[in-house]
Amino acid sequence: MTDQAYNFAYLDEQTKRMIRRAILKGIAIPGYQVPFASREMPMPYGWGTGGVQVTAACLTPDDTLKVIDQGADDTTNAVSIRKFFQRTAGVAVTEATTEATIIQTRHRIPETALTKGQILVYQVPIPEPLRFLEPRETETRKMHELEEYGLMHVKLYEDIARHGTIATSYDYPVKVEGRYVMDPSPIPKFDNPKLSDNPAIQLFGAGREQRIYALPPHTHVVSLDFDDHPFTASKAAHDCDLCAAQDSYLDEVITDDQGNRMFVCSDTDFCRSRREAGHLGRLGTPLSEVEQ
């Protein structure tokens, strides 16, 4: 099954060593962006080259891999990365969050709570939370060094001044263990509370920007806010139309040109397991009636 032309998990061992060093350093300094020598991967930037390299460095033959893209196991990005590791590493793959030992994710944290021993790998497009406020890399590094994070609040201030509320709904900046301000990758702010005190290891890889950062298990992570405009983890004010879940993050799907739409869980594994357990939403069909 493994393509013998490749080393296990595509990257050569020295590269994986280099990446593991960066990961260990990242874990030692939670939230700090560790530079690493990002490799050219056989996929375009923006498709998860950073996440793939981190996953490759963490994979062992005994691991079970799950890959999700916006919560879904069956979208292009997820399918192609899963296939990539099936071919180059021959590891077992799964769609069940509970069975996976390594989960590579694009822009979501699974709804099912993660457990000790799991690794969650994020694909990060722009690791620098201050980037759109301060274009100079030398200056942002200095700001991290000296903990000058007032600018981050200027961004939130602008949100409230313009929209009446903090309108940033994804990529919501967080502070890690009271020290580094970190970009949580473009996860919806609904997922932000799950970053904190998570028993799993969370690793962030940015391929184009050549940065790795990490949250070790049970790291304290706080979403930035104002005293009179506290952080709220928002989601669409609906229940899932397939599985009736009230507390999961929803995708809005337009179903026709008459203005009809449905809301479904973005986490497909979570939604399916609920339907298998007999939960049925407004537009759902019982699984027993669905042709397999």
């Binding site: 602008e158 005293d227 009179d228």
Partner: protein, 264 residues
């Protein structure tokens, strides 16, 4: 000059001793020494290339001087700002100091609303209450004569004079004790200059600020400065009370400078 209700103490706020900065073999500024007392405004004049801006950058910590000491009377007593850590110096630059650039684009965040610009320093020192920050911003916009309904406009939408006033509000909002100004009226037309000077004079008097103003405009120092330093070729050639220096210049260069002003 008459001393207003400002309290002059024996302890200088800012002491500069033997400050020099070289660019390779060329002199930026050489052997500059002066004391600045609380509430005092010092003007530095001189032609282009005379080292005024180099001196100001060294004083404000933007450049590291080659020799000399720059001692500021911090809350913990006098400290040499050249040798103190960068974190501390930058914190001081955000709280006790202010720097008004000649071009407001250098001192403002052009992509951030006026309110955000004024609030940035507050947020940088830990303000975390949106309502309070906004109220302070509105108050300061009023003080620099910008209408409160412009608070959510970006500086791009402002005229040059308004941008400069916004920059001043942004700098003074944390109640600094020492303000560095680099040609604050440069690039503004004369009527706007006059209003800005009037505003600056009011704020400096009202807040009891000490200020160091670099300019080549003698009218600016005549109006604002208590004391004057004249620079040429990186050296201070003459210093003294503003009126004394301008009315009775001793050094040949100062005489040239004073006589070069057009009388309308």
């Amino acid at each position: 000059m008459t001393v207003h209700d400002r309290t002059l103490t024996d302890q200088p706020l800012f002491q500069v001793q033997g400050l020099s900065k070289f660019y390779g073999a060329r002199i930026g500024c050489a052997d500059v020494s002066f004391d600045l007392y609380p509430g005092e405004v010092l003007g530095i004049v001189g032609e282009s290339g005379s080292g005024k801006s180099t001196l100001l950058s060294c004083l404000a910590g933007h450049l590291t001087p080659d020799t000399g000491r720059v001692i500021f009377d911090t809350a913990q007593g006098p400290r040499d700002t050249v040798t103190m850590g960068e974190a501390e110096r930058r914190r001081m630059a955000r709280t006790d100091w202010a720097f008004v650039h000649q071009n407001p684009r250098d001192g403002l965040r052009m992509g951030v609303s006026a309110g955000g610009n004024v609030g940035e320093r507050l947020m940088a020192i830990g303000a975390r209450h949106y309502g309070d920050i906004r109220a302070t911003a509105i108050d300061w916009l009023g003080r620099v004569e910008i209408a409160a309904d412009r608070i959510d406009d970006r500086p791009r939408a402002f005229s040059g004079g308004m941008q400069q006033r916004l920059q001043i509000a942004r700098n003074l909002v944390t109640g600094p004790r020492l303000v560095f100004m680099d040609e604050p009226t440069g690039g503004l037309d004369v009527s706007v200059q006059a209003r800005l000077l009037d505003l600056l004079r009011g704020l400096v008097r009202e807040m009891g600020l000490s200020a160091i103003i670099v300019t080549h405009d003698l009218a600016v120092v005549r109006l604002l400065a208590d004391r004057l330093m004249v620079m040429k070729g990186g050296h201070v050639v003459e210093q003294g009370l503003t009126d004394q220096v301008l009315d009775d210049p001793q050094h040949a260069y100062t005489q040239l400078l004073v006589s070069s002003v057009l009388q309308v």
